[in-house]
Amino acid sequence: MLESVRDLAPIIAVIGFFQLVILRQPIPDLGGLLIGTVLVVLGLTLFIHGLKVGLFPIGESMAHDFARKGSLFWLLAFAFALGFGTTVAEPALIAVADEAAKVAATGGMIENTDPARESYADGLRLTVALSVGAAIVIGVLRIIKGWPLQFLIVGGYIGVVIMTFFAPPEIIGIAYDSGGVTTSTITVPLVTALGVGLASSIQGRNPLTDGFGLIAFASLTPMIFVMGYGIML
């Protein structure tokens, strides 16, 4: 509980300082603000506790079990399902996809009608979800094979840079942002536990250097896939 208070203190200090000292305005609805802050602190405390007793252990135990079972196909299927399934319904992504459809419609890339926008947004959402699924698959393969992360990521960045020159300008901002919005608060701990669990059950892998990096892929591939989507349309 105390930890959560400390985690949230900076945000409250910043908002208080700007509101009172810079904007010189009273805080509207102080009571509501206090109740809200209590809820946030309580929520964060519960979440962190649930993380330690629920999400981390199941992520790691499943990683161990998959490593012991030795079926690469099912492990990769699991990795893909986890990436795709957690992204396709992600609210932040739905919001960004709708916003992107508006941009595309005003930019004249697609017809400015409801069905056209909807199909564009759905296509984008599916593209990003596929890309995250692919990212976790590649990331898991990397842990198993022990490929060095930096070559893959740097190669990916070079891909992003090259594609930027060919992608329609309207999609670039959205593509860059989509890398950031894909990884939700529940996916991150699970995927991290999966990576660390795999790296610690496979001989010769170091959980620190090999276990992390799955999220890095999940933020990289959406940029490439979304720009690809923009180029193809």
């Binding site: 908002i15 809820l39 519960l46 979440f47 932040a92 860059y176 942002d177 950031g180 996916t187």
Partner: protein, 262 residues
């Protein structure tokens, strides 16, 4: 009453987030691995905690911090507050408070970001305590803060996004060559985890406010991109943090061995 119904909405939307994940986990556990889950009760309790915790967290943010933060972002970017007249329009130095706000809000929201806390806990466990949870989180937060201020500057000046991002990537690649190998994966990961529940709504409001108050900027086109900055700079700051700790450790070792000699 409205509080309660609103809370149920939050709970429902969190459930909507958790459910697909739970289904995937249990399907693979039961149908493919065909193993009983150890401590099933404890894990289910953990899920309930996560579900309730996230619902409370989001509800509190939406009730209290987001409306105020978004209002502030609008007020700070309004031209009467910044004292901008027709002649000084588009002069980037008038927006000083915007950059300060961008820095402060980037830093503070990152410290409160639950997924970053999760990664920091894991990194601390895995490194046997060598990577401090607070050290990592502060390094990431500084990266986000710098990224968002620079992103705000970009919206004010209207320079193309991809120049910044490409230069940033080149810097990341160069830094990768020189930084301790053990931190690379964690640094790359921290780029992705920074931007979720707390940071995105506030930062998006700031970008939208800026882009709609500056003539010649299209909120739809220029409002994007702040999140990209927030995911790029933590990579650099985390690698920088590792380089700094390595350098300090080496310096300490050197001075210690010199002490022994004298």
């Amino acid at each position: 009453m409205s509080y309660l119904s609103h809370f149920f909405e939050s709970l429902l939307s969190t459930l909507h987030d958790v459910l697909p994940i739970a289904i995937i986990l249990f399907f693979f556990q039961l149908a493919i691995l065909r193993k009983r889950i150890l401590n099933l009760r404890q894990i289910l309790i953990g899920f309930v905690f996560v579900l309730l915790g996230l619902a409370f967290f989001l509800e509190g943010l939406e009730q209290a911090l987001f409306p105020l933060g978004k209002l502030m972002a609008e007020q700070l970017t309004a031209s009467d507050f910044l004292g901008i007249t027709e002649d000084s329009l588009g002069n980037w130095s008038n927006y000083l408070w915007v950059y300060v706000f961008a820095f402060a809000i980037g830093f503070s929201t990152t410290i409160a970001e639950p997924s970053l806390i999760a990664v920091a806990i894991k990194a601390n466990q895995v490194s046997g305590g060598a990577i401090g949870t607070w050290g990592l989180r502060i390094a990431v937060a500084i990266g986000v803060a710098v990224g968002i201020s620079l992103g705000a500057y970009r919206i004010v000046t209207g320079t193309p996004l991809h120049y910044y991002i490409i230069v940033g990537y080149v810097l990341v690649v160069i830094q990768t060559l020189y930084c301790p190998k053990s931190i690379i994966a964690l640094a790359y990961d921290s780029g992705g985890v920074t931007t979720s529940t707390v940071t995105v709504p506030l930062v998006a409001a700031l970008g939208l406010g800026l882009a709609s108050n500056i003539p010649g900027r299209n909120p739809l086109l220029d409002g994007f991109g702040l999140i990209a900055f927030a995911s790029l700079f933590p990579i650099m700051s985390v690698m920088g943090y590792a380089q700094l700790s390595e350098w300090r450790a080496q310096r300490d070792k050197r001075s210690r061995s010199e002490n022994v000699r004298s």
